[in-house]
């Protein structure tokens, strides 16, 4: 089969059958692209996972772009990424046409009131998991805590300050401390 078609349909299949996004997809991509199709090696897959952690965007999109590029350069990257998006696009587009009517039913509206509570808890749970995986050092902890407090104030008091500005400030602070030599480097300098 034509490699471009193959890329498109393989990633469309991955996009169609993985729920919840993120890490659930890595297993599926590994299974399809590494084991079955042998498009990329296991090591490359590990590498791209690390790169995905340090670059913005959904991890599944990052994997699709990388694999597509490896197999058929730019056009391959484009086709694989589109393949990844098309199924969820189609499903959500359909839902968007019916959701409002659906929500007018009392029983569904009640169900969604319950779901709203679950979403808050899910986000909090993800935050706790991220904190557990974080480096147990003073600087990241301080940045995490300050960002959390500022963001909480932004939310509660409706401050006009975007989370993007907050992220940029954190990046500048970390870079400044590094340049001034305040952070113990990877080799583990003296802690202040």
């Amino acid at each position: 089969m034509n490699i471009l078609l193959d890329l498109f349909f393989t990633f469309a299949k991955i996009g169609l059958f993985t729920f919840g996004g993120g890490y659930a997809m890595i297993a599926m991509i590994e299974n399809n692209c590494v084991e079955r199709k042998k498009w990329i090696t296991h090591d490359e897959m590990m590498n791209i996972t690390v790169i995905a952690e340090s670059t913005p965007g959904p991890i599944a999109i990052n994997c699709a772009t990388f694999t597509g590029y490896k197999k058929a350069s730019f056009i391959g990257a484009l086709i694989a990424t589109l393949g990844m998006i098309v199924p969820s696009f189609a499903i959500i587009y359909l839902i968007s046409m019916f959701l409002d009517n659906f929500l007018e039913l009392t029983i569904i509206a009640n169900a969604f009131k319950g779901i709203k509570i679950a979403v808050g808890i899910l986000i909090l749970d993800v935050a706790f998991t991220m904190i557990k995986k974080m480096h147990k050092k003073k600087l990241p902890r301080a940045i995490m805590l300050c960002s959390a407090i500022v963001m909480l104030c932004i939310n509660i008091f409706a401050w006009n300050f975007s989370s993007i500005s907050l992220m940029l400030i954190a990046a500048v602070v970390s870079l400044t401390i590094f340049v001034l030599g305040g952070t113990p480097d990877q080799k583990g300098g003296a802690k202040k």
């Binding site: 169609l16 059958f17 993985t18 729920f19 919840g20 996004g21 997809m25 790169i51 340090s54 670059t55 913005p56 965007g57 959904p58 999109i61 772009t65 590029y69 990257a77 990424t81 998006i85 696009f89 499903i91 959500i92 968007s96 929500l103 029983i107 969604f112 009131k113 319950g114 779901i115 709203k116 509570i117 679950a118 979403v119 808050g120 808890i121 899910l122 986000i123 993800v126 935050a127 991220m130 904190i131 974080m134 990241p140 940045i143 995490m144 960002s147 959390a148 407090i149 909480l152 939310n155 975007s162 989370s163 993007i164 907050l166 992220m167 954190a170 970390s174 870079l175 401390i177 590094f178």
Partner: protein
């Protein structure tokens, strides 16, 4: 113009969406609220719908918001805008700048960004849970039904983990919460 707003708004989200799907939610909330595209209520519903349908959550939210604001073309523009930055960055990194991410200054920036994202996600989670149970700062009011459902969901999460040694999947939690909502708000 709405198409340009959608494109720029979701381009911003795509550029700063570190930390996976949930890392991007506070950012999407920010952009959506500042343009007034969706109510807080609808956005929360859509997060649950995105979690329960296949595909990356960020892409699902972009498609939905785009389609609500400007039909099919809006959905296409928002979806493409949200994936464009990560697409270009991965191309750059794999094709040209293989060592860029190992650069010590880039690493220093990332060391600041990552904990900040975690803090933002934490604050958003706390705010949403407290908001559901006690209302907003301008109208503090204990919402008994929401408190009961929150307690029930937290108990089922910990109970499930205790007995099966596995994490309760998000989809299962959403199903439980929907059932609890139908029963508790229905009486």
């Amino acid at each position: 113009m709405i198409y340009l707003d959608l494109f720029l708004g979701f381009l911003k989200v795509g550029c700063f969406a570190f930390g996976g799907a949930y890392g991007a939610i506070p950012l999407i909330r920010d952009v959506v609220m500042s343009y007034g595209w969706l109510s807080d209520e609808m956005l929360t519903y859509m997060i649950a719908v995105s979690e329960s349908t296949p595909g990356p959550i960020m892409v699902n939210l972009a498609t939905y918001i785009g389609s609500r604001q400007a039909c099919f073309l809006g959905a296409v523009i928002a979806t493409l805008a949200v994936v464009l930055p990560s697409f270009l960055i991965i191309l750059l990194v794999t094709a040209l700048l293989k060592t860029a991410l190992k650069n010590k200054y880039v690493q220093a920036v990332l060391r600041g960004l990552k904990p900040c994202v975690i803090g933002i996600v934490l604050a958003t989670g706390i705010y949403m849970v407290l908001g559901n149970c006690f209302g907003s700062i301008t109208a503090i009011k204990a919402n008994i039904q929401a408190i009961i459902i929150t307690a029930l969901l937290v108990a089922s999460m910990f109970g499930y983990k205790h007995f099966t040694k596995k994490k309760l999947s998000p989809i299962l939690l959403i199903i439980i919460s929907a059932a609890a909502g139908m029963v508790i708000y229905g009486i």
